[in-house]
C-alpha cells in the first residue's frame, strides 16, 4: 500500500507462512507433489509448511483434524496442573479456591480452540481430558490417588469433560447466533455451509419473544436432531435463575433434551 502520509505498509517475510489444507483424502494425492511448489511474495518465495501451521494460537494440520493442537493444549494443561499441585502441596488449599484456580489456569488451556474439533457424535479425545480432570478433581479435594473416582468427581464441582466441551461449543454457537437479528449489522456467517462447527445452525425463526434455532448434527438432508431455543436476554427465566438458565430445549430421538447454561443437559426421554 503506497502511502503519501505515513510510511508504506510492509509485509514481514520472516513471519509469512504458506500451508496446504488438503483434507483427509487429498493428503496423499496432493501434498507430495505440491510441497515443492512455492508462492512468490514480493521479491522472495515462500515454501509450503511441511508440518503444522500456527495461526491465531491454533495449530492447523493439513486435514484440519486439530489433533496436534489438542495434544499441545493438553500437554500445556498437564504441566500447569503439575505446577499447581507443587505449589499447593498434598492437601491443597480451600477446595472452592482450588477449583477456581483449576478452572482458570488448567481447564482454560485444555479447552482452548476445542470449538473447532469437538464432535458430539465422534467423542474421540475425550479420555485425555477426562483423565486430566480426574487429576484436577483430586488436587481440588486433596484426595489420594487411590480414592475412588466416583467420590471426588462429584464433590470437586468440576464439570465433566464431555459436558465442558459441549458447553463450550454450544456457547460459541449461541454467541454467533445472537448476532443474527442485529439490525445494525449484516448477517455475519453463511450458516448453511455444512461440515464445520459454525455450520451447525441450520435455521432461525423469531416468535413470541424467543428465537428458535434448528441445530443440525447430521449430514445435510437428514432430519434435524436437536432443536434449540435461546431465550431473550431480558426473559423472566434468565432474570430469575442467574447462572443456571435454561437456554435450550429440544427433541433428540425419542425424548427431549434440555440444555443448561453451564453446559449440562437433562434427558427426559
Amino acid at each position: 500500500m503506497d502511502s503519501a502520509e505515513g510510511r508504506e505498509l510492509e509485509f514481514g517475510t520472516a513471519k509469512t507462512e504458506a500451508a496446504l489444507l488438503t483434507g483427509r483424502w487429498g493428503h496423499k494425492k496432493h501434498l507430495g507433489s505440491k510441497l515443492t511448489a512455492k508462492i512468490r511474495v514480493g521479491n522472495g518465495f515462500i515454501m509450503f509448511n511441511k508440518e503444522l501451521t500456527r495461526w491465531l494460537g491454533v495449530w492447523m494440520d493439513a486435514n484440519l483434524r486439530f489433533k496436534e493442537h489438542h495434544n499441545r493444549c493438553t500437554k500445556k494443561a498437564r504441566a500447569a496442573e503439575a505446577r499447581l499441585r507443587k505449589l499447593t502441596g498434598m492437601y491443597g488449599i480451600v477446595p472452592a479456591w482450588m477449583r477456581a484456580v483449576q478452572v482458570r489456569c488448567v481447564q482454560a488451556v485444555t479447552l482452548n480452540g476445542s470449538e473447532l474439533w469437538w464432535d458430539l457424535i465422534d467423542g474421540s479425545r475425550l479420555d485425555d481430558l477426562q483423565l486430566l480432570l480426574n487429576r484436577q478433581a483430586r488436587s481440588t479435594l486433596g484426595a489420594l490417588p487411590t480414592t475412588p473416582r466416583v467420590a471426588h468427581r462429584g464433590n470437586s464441582g468440576l464439570t465433566p469433560a464431555a459436558v465442558a466441551l459441549d458447553a463450550r461449543q454450544q456457547r460459541y454457537i449461541a454467541r454467533l447466533a445472537s448476532g443474527w437479528d442485529d439490525p445494525k449489522s449484516n448477517r455475519r456467517y453463511d450458516y448453511s455451509t455444512p461440515g464445520a462447527p459454525v455450520g451447525r445452525v441450520a435455521a432461525s425463526e423469531h416468535a413470541g419473544g424467543r428465537r428458535t434455532e434448528t441445530m443440525r448434527w447430521q449430514d445435510p438432508g437428514e432430519k434435524p436432531a436437536v432443536k434449540t431455543t435461546i431465550l431473550e436476554v431480558d426473559s423472566t427465566a434468565k432474570r430469575a435463575a442467574k447462572g443456571c438458565v435454561r437456554v435450550k430445549e429440544g427433541d433428540a430421538g425419542s425424548g427431549t433434551w434440555t440444555w443448561w447454561m453451564d453446559g449440562s443437559r437433562t434427558h427426559d426421554g
Binding site: R7, T16, A18, Y172, S185, P194
Partner: protein, 159 residues
C-alpha cells in the same frame, strides 16, 4: 477514564465502519463476536467448502510489520471522510491522534519530549479498529487481483 471512553468509541467506530462498508465479515479482532476462534472457524468452513468441490485449499498467512507505527493520520482521515463516516467520530479520531508526544525516562533521567506525527498508540483499545479501517481496502484489492481467493484479516493490540 480515558480507556473507558476509548472502549465506547471502539464499538461506535466498528458499527459505523460496518454500516459504511469499510468493514465486513472478513475483518476479525477488536469487534464483537469476531474473535480469533471465529476467524479460525471461518477458515475451516472455507477449507471444507473447497474440499467438497474437489479442490485443495492453499493458505498464505502474512503479517504487516510495525503495523501501528506505519499508519498515516492524514490517510486515515481521508478514508473515513471519503466513506462519509459520522462527523463526531472523525473529529474524535483526529483529536485522538493529534498533538501526541513521547517522553523517555532512563534510570530517573527524563529526556526531552518529542512530537509523534505518525502511527497510532500501541496498547490503546482504539488502535486495532482504526488499523482495520486503514487497511480495509487491502483485502479487497487482493481479492480483485487474484481470482478465487478469500481474504481474512485479524488485528489485535498485543503484538
Amino acid at each position: 477514564m480515558g480507556k473507558v471512553v476509548e472502549k465506547v468509541v471502539v464499538e461506535l467506530l466498528a458499527e459505523e465502519a460496518q454500516r459504511r462498508g469499510l468493514l465486513n465479515n472478513s475483518h476479525y479482532g477488536s469487534r464483537k463476536r469476531l474473535s480469533a476462534i471465529n476467524a479460525a472457524a471461518v477458515m475451516v468452513v472455507r477449507a471444507h467448502a473447497a474440499w467438497r468441490e474437489g479442490h485443495i485449499a492453499p493458505v498464505l498467512l502474512m503479517d504487516i510489520m510495525a503495523a501501528f507505527l506505519s499508519m498515516g493520520r492524514g490517510r486515515l482521515m481521508t478514508i473515513m471522510t471519503g466513506k462519509e463516516m459520522d462527523g463526531d467520530l472523525v473529529r474524535w479520531t483526529a483529536s485522538f491522534l493529534s498533538e501526541r508526544t513521547a517522553e523517555m525516562v532512563i534510570e530517573g533521567n527524563v529526556m526531552e519530549r518529542h512530537p509523534v506525527e505518525e502511527g497510532i498508540p500501541q496498547g490503546s483499545p482504539v488502535s486495532p479498529i482504526l488499523f482495520a479501517i486503514y487497511t480495509s481496502g487491502l483485502r479487497l484489492s487482493g481479492e480483485e487481483r487474484v481470482a478465487g481467493i478469500d481474504g481474512l484479516s485479524f488485528v489485535n493490540y498485543i503484538g
